[in-house]
């Protein structure tokens, strides 16, 4: 599986994604500058974390109009796999590829720490290698990660199994104290209706090596590769 990692001005997890995909997991990967007009030849596009365009206006609001985003939208339309991590998730929301929006964290702080997330749907191409309700230990690092969607939108996501990850305790319990940012319903990651675009606030690319404190992020990359047949 070939990963294409979009680099916006202000992206800062692009190299981590490249290292995880290529260096650690041995998949072909390439950087794609935001000024490019094509993402041809890639099987999975990653929109990495960071502060694209300085988070000016709203996180992701300006990046979503980058030249490359036209190609990313076409790629999504054709069923191509897209993984948005942190700022990448915010960009997917602003672009309308995923529903809802991000707000400032409830406690107004930048939160940078390991959290636990529960896999709510392991039937997706991003989570097929996870067990049912498997708990993953992955880091978050954001100040604007409070997911918000109106009631009917929330019901649609929930009833169609599109809430893929929720913040939880080490043993999978879900409550307000496990919610690091005030996200609605502890939501940490969602998927589109078609199942080819996933956004998540936690960073799987920062947790693929034991030396970093967790290897649980591997499940996402390995699920993706497996879904594509290697």
């Amino acid at each position: 599986m070939k990963f294409g990692i979009i680099v916006f001005p202000g992206s800062n997890c692009d190299r981590d994604c490249y290292h995880a995909a290529r260096g650690v997991l041995g998949h072909p990967a390439e950087y794609i500058w935001h000024g490019e007009k094509t993402v041809e030849g890639c099987d999975c596009i990653i929109l990495p974390g960071g502060f694209s365009y300085g988070d000016y206006l709203r996180a992701g609001a300006i990046a979503r109009f980058s030249p490359v985003m036209g190609a990313v939208m076409d790629f999504a339309e054709k069923g191509g796999l897209i993984l948005g991590i942190c700022n990448g998730f915010q960009i997917l929301l602003e672009a309308g590829l995923l529903p809802g929006a991000m707000l400032r964290n409830k406690n107004t702080h930048f939160v940078c720490k390991y959290v636990y997330i529960r896999t709510e749907n392991n039937g997706t191409r991003f989570t097929g290698g996870c067990g049912r309700a498997q708990v993953l230990r992955v880091p978050i690092a954001h100040s604007g990660g409070r997911y918000y969607i109106d009631e009917s939108g929330h019901a649609r996501l929930r009833d169609s199994g599109r809430i893929v990850f929720r913040y939880c305790s080490e043993n999978g319990g879900i409550g307000a104290s496990e919610n690091p940012n005030g996200s609605l319903d502890n939501i940490a990651g969602i998927i589109n209706e078609r199942g080819n675009v996933l956004g998540m606030m936690p960073h799987p690319e920062r947790s693929v090596e034991r030396v970093l404190g967790s290897e649980d992020g591997r499940f996402i990359f390995e699920s993706l590769a497996k879904s594509q047949g290697g």
Binding site: L57, R58, A61, I62, F65, L93, E94, P99, G100, A101, L103, R104, N105, K106, N107, T108, Y148, I149, D150, G182
Partner: protein, 87 residues
């Protein structure tokens, strides 16, 4: 030229922790009569345009397209003519 002032505010149902922090700060300074504080944004645009209606339409599309996020924000635009080359 026309000046368009865009006011962007969070929708009523969206909680605003920044506004709450401001309210607490005011209380700590003994301004006790503040029931609520809400943060927002103001964007001032100087448009190379003379027609007020056209300017209002343009500013509205700018808001709908990028300046505001309809999922969480409302916006309001004020339009006025300004003299000469505003900086």
């Amino acid at each position: 030229m026309i000046k368009a002032t865009v006011y962007i505010t969070l929708k009523e149902q969206v909680s605003d922790p920044e506004g709450e922090a401001v309210k607490k700060a005011l209380e700590s300074l003994n301004f006790n009569g503040v029931r609520r504080a809400r943060m927002g944004k103001v964007i001032t645009l100087i448009l190379e345009e003379e027609n007020l209606e056209k300017a209002a339409r343009d500013a509205d599309s700018m808001c709908a397209r990028i300046l505001a996020n309809p999922v969480i924000e409302n916006y309001r635009v004020e339009i006025e003519s300004v003299e000469g080359e505003a900086s």
